[in-house]
């Protein structure tokens, strides 16, 4: 399937060291605002399909709100139990105060 850049949200929509989740191009995506920039991964935890929206973003890691499975927000890599399956990560770019995600 061809990937395309989609306008996801304004940079102001995501607080510092936080995330939002939204439907984007048929996918449920999490967009993170970190000191290293904006990143995007799948929005559901790969462990038990819990939405990550109420999770904790800290030091470039998203922690699932239900079981505290942890993923790297940059790569989607599962970092600790009970999460073992990586999340899909998506390219992002910021233009004119908007966050674009390639999905």
């Amino acid at each position: 399937m061809t990937q395309q850049w989609l306008d996801a949200c304004a940079t102001d929509d995501v607080d510092d060291e936080d995330l939002i989740t939204l439907d984007l191009g048929g996918r449920f995506v999490a967009i993170y605002n970190t000191p290293q920039g904006f990143f995007a991964t799948d929005g559901m935890c790969s462990h038990e399909d819990e939405p990550l929206g109420d999770g904790l973003v800290m030091d470039g890691v998203i922690e699932c709100p239900l079981h505290q499975g942890r993923f790297c927000v940059r790569t989607g890599k599962a970092l600790s139990a009970p999460a073992v399956t990586d999340l899909c990560s998506y390219e992002t770019r910021v233009e004119n105060g908007r966050v674009f995600v390639k999905v």
Binding site: D15, D18, H47, E48, E50, G53, D54, G55, L56, M58, E63, P65, L66, H67, Q68, R70, S80, A81, P82, V84, T85
Partner: protein, 337 residues
Amino acid sequence: MITNAKTSNIHLDKKALKALMRRSDRPGLIYLGSWLGLLAFCATLVMLSVGTWWMVPTLLIYSGIFAVPAYALSHECAHGTAFRTRWLNEAVFWLTSLLYYEEPLHRRYSHASHHTHTWIEGEDNQMPFAPIPLTFSGWVEEILGLGLYCHQTKMFVSHSLGVFSDDVKRVTPESELPRMQRNTQICVAIYLGFAAISIWFGWLWPLWLIVIPRVLGGPIMNAFILMQHVEMAENQPNIVQSTRSFRTNWFFQFLYFNMNNHIEHHLYPTVPFHALPKLSEALTDQLPKPDAGFLNTHWEVLKITVRRSLGHDDRSDKIRQAFPDTPAGETNDTAMA
């Protein structure tokens, strides 16, 4: 069946939740330091009183102070919420899980199932071993923790050999089973190695300060654990109906890492122990009143199990209790209000 804040119709503003979830090493280090300091003080009293009658009260007090926080801190570290620094969290998790007598990875996965399917028969891997609702003999079994000792010992043996039950496989990804086997082998090696060194050098202090206190403190620890869900509604998605919070004094809150706020913990498990009282305040309007006191609540549970065993009325108007005959497993909150 899934159990979480959404299935319990509880809502908390995201900004408020984010503030409560904030991690720090400081509260965990203060708690850990206070616990170790208190243990060192009581351990000195125990060793000084060996061979005298003073040993009975000092050992009992030491056992409670040893076992309850070992369980509570292991639980907090299983969630990854005790410390901000990950290696510190994992190091304390290993140490306290060894004291609690459970391999850490298994502890993490079985506890994850307890949170996903709280008090759902056949899905929650941390339900009591005795049949529920508890009779008096079931209460004795749970308080002594005999089922738990047998279960954990069996798992230390079978997991070391790479044999896993269907229950364990149901909650653990297949790719994690080799790691669970390796971890279990490390735990068994630590237990056996420590026992061998103690025997070789003729040390008695591990017996007085670790083994006996774990066994003597077990019932006190199990009394805290039992309060979390006993007499509450099974097999329904609302955590408020399946879980109990209770008030208790500052010392028991310290020993139990604030887990007396247990409904709050199940609703938002990412909130660390030190922020649970604030979370409780934030949810006051949405939650039933906590039961009054650890000892009062437990005494009431004990009376219920005795009455039930004798075939008498097992209803209580002093603690929250499910009405098992209602489809939604409603509790007596309204009656008590």
